[in-house]
Structures are given as structure tokens and as C-alpha cells.
Symmetry: C2
């Protein structure tokens, strides 16, 4: 599975290179994503595709004063090996998800990060994780009006090797609508339940 | 009142220019903050001080590959005039707080913005606003480990012309500690109370 953020033209070019194949600068062989034997090798290939697109298109973006800003989440499992998830940056470098870092975000991460920081741990149940992810998206949708539905979701369980969920949540989705209403009401109740600050007339 | 974010050396230079005075490039007169007759003129002066510091120090920052990144919140009231609040950017330009934009943030704004977006309106009671501001700071402290206490707070009421609160909240402050615990517990309860997502086995 691959998710992209940033300049759409560049991320689409990366995806197309991965499918159609491109030359490895060292071995001179044409490599495609489906040829990779390990998830690590596949993540390296995504990184090389990013660098290749930057090499070809980067100067033109610079001339147009457009930052070459993109990132990917790339995850999955090859039968018999571990499930892995990588975050790939605009320089083609990448980091891996781990127990210490139980979630990754790309795109507009900050508005939705506080609830993930509080609620997502490595052992959270997978549909709880999905629910918390949707709450996180709700914060982003509320605070950045440039981000909007649909929200594409996917669930991939270890050792199943196929997606359990592959769905698009539209703006009219009743569950997401209800989640957003409940979350708003709960936050309002939560801050109203906290006693007022005791700092009245306190001066240094 | 003035709050600063960004490169400390540059924001301190701005503050010092405002106190000691500097030449107006058009009138050639030395101007200090306390000489300004209106809040708008004072905000313009802050903007000119920012540009002056950039003019003097900007090239050196650039050589050191340090972005000239700073911003200010500048607010207050001159007797007989309206209370006003401005956000001043690194280019010396500024915008004003209004009913449509009932709060302003500088520094690391995004983690703490969702709760402000939901809870702060123009007519919120002033200590409720302070409480919501502290909840917003809590999200920022949790999600960016580079941000830490103390948290300086100030409350200035219209037509009082002196601060009602001017206080430093230290890491050990019992109210802030309690607020953070209550908020964490309330968020946990809130997301656990939302029903699980209905998307299991849904595929396009």
C-alpha cells in the first residue's frame, strides 16, 4: 500500500516509475516495484524513484518557485517476511514504523497529531486505531479548510496479504458524520468540566 | 503587551529598538514605542523595527543558513481608544484580531489550534478563554517535546489599562497539572465512547 502527500504531479510520476520501471543508476538494470524481494528493497526503490523525479523535474519546479515537497507512506508484507511500514521523504530517505513510533503521518500532520500521541499505542485494537485516525482527520478537516473529504481508508492485517478494508468515506458518510458530532460534543463537555483557572489578579 | 516567537536574538533586537528608539526612514525622526499616539501607529512601528533588524542582521542569518523567522503578538489599549490586537509577521506586515478571528497564535500554532477553533468565540468569558488557551498549550507541549514550561500568561481587560493577570505557570503548578490530567482523561473517555467504525470487510 502506498499513500502520497505533496505535489500531485510529482507523486504521480513516482508511482508511474514504480509500475513501469526505471534504470538503477548502479546496476543499470530496469527495476519495477513488483520485482523487489523484500519490503526494505521496495522502500529503497521508492526512494530512488523520488530522487529520479527530482533529478528530472526539480529544476523546473525551482524555476516556478514551487517547493519539491512530497512524501509517502509505503507499507505491506511479502509472504513469509515481516509486515513493514515506511515513511519516505522528499530526499528519497526513509524511516520505519516501530513499537516506539506506533503511527506515521504525511501531508498536514500537526492538527491531528495530539489525539494520536495520546491514544495510539503499538497494541491498540486495529478498528480502535482506525477510529482514532478518523478523529485525527476530523481535527485536520476542522482546522485546515483546504483539507476535505473524501477520506480513503485501508486496513491490512498481518499475514493476511490482502486488504480487509479498502473504502472511501464520502462527506455524507453517516458514521463519520456522527463521529464528528460526538467528538465535538465530548470536547465541549470536557473543557467545560475543567474548573476555572485560579490566576485572577495574580501578578509577579 | 507584546509576545514574541522565532529567533530570540532578532526578537530581542526588535524589542530593544522599540524601547530605545530608531530612525523613521521617511521623517528621519527617532521614534520609540511610547511616543506612538494610536495602537495602529504602534503596530506599524513594530513592523518597521522588524524590517530594520532584518536589514541589519538578515544577511548574516542567511550566511549562517538560519531562516529569519519571527513573529509577534502586539496588543493593548490607549486611554480613550479601542483595545486592539495585532499579529506581526517577519516581513513587518500585520493583521488585526477581529470578531471573525477571535484568537491569534504565534510560534508553534498547529497542535493547539483544533481546540481553539472549536471553543473560542468572540464572546467567550475571559477566564474560560484562558482555560482553553492552557488546554491548547497542553496539546502543544504533548506533541512537540521541544516546547516546555514555563507558560507566561497575561489577562488585560478592556478599559482597565493595566494587566489583571501577569503570571508565570511553572512545570509544578498544581492547577495546570490537574488541567492536563483531566483533559487527558476526558479525551480518552471521549474516544472510547464513540462506537467502532462499521467499515469491516468493506471493499470498493
Amino acid at each position: 500500500m502506498i499513500a502520497a502527500a505533496g505535489i500531485l504531479s510529482a507523486t504521480q510520476s513516482v508511482i508511474n516509475l514504480l509500475i513501469e520501471g526505471f534504470e538503477n543508476p548502479e546496476s543499470k538494470e530496469i527495476e519495477r516495484l513488483e520485482d523487489m524481494r523484500t519490503m526494505f528493497a521496495a522502500a529503497q526503490l521508492v526512494g530512488r524513484a523520488v530522487r529520479r523525479v527530482r533529478q528530472v523535474e526539480g529544476a523546473a519546479y525551482e524555476q516556478a518557485s514551487v517547493a519539491f515537497d512530497l512524501s509517502f507512506l509505503f507499507g505491506g508484507q511479502i509472504a513469509g517476511s515481516d509486515m513493514r511500514l515506511f515513511q519516505i521523504y522528499a530526499a528519497g530517505n526513509f524511516i520505519e514504523c516501530s513499537q516506539d513510533m506506533p503511527f506515521m503521518q504525511i501531508g498536514e500532520p500537526k492538527y491531528g497529531k495530539p489525539i494520536l500521541d495520546r491514544a495510539v499505542t503499538h497494541d491498540v485494537e486495529i478498528y480502535d486505531a482506525l477510529k482514532i485516525g478518523l478523529i485525527s482527520m476530523d481535527s485536520t478537516l476542522k482546522s485546515n479548510l483546504g483539507v476535505g473529504p473524501p477520506v480513503d481508508i485501508a486496513v491490512l492485517r498481518r499475514d493476511v496479504l490482502t486488504t480487509e478494508v479498502d473504502w472511501r468515506i464520502e462527506a455524507t458518510d453517516p458514521y463519520f458524520h456522527d463521529l464528528r458530532d460526538r467528538w465535538s460534543a465530548a470536547l465541549r463537555a470536557a473543557h467545560m468540566a475543567i474548573p476555572p483557572p485560579p490566576y485572577e489578579n495574580m501578578r509577579r
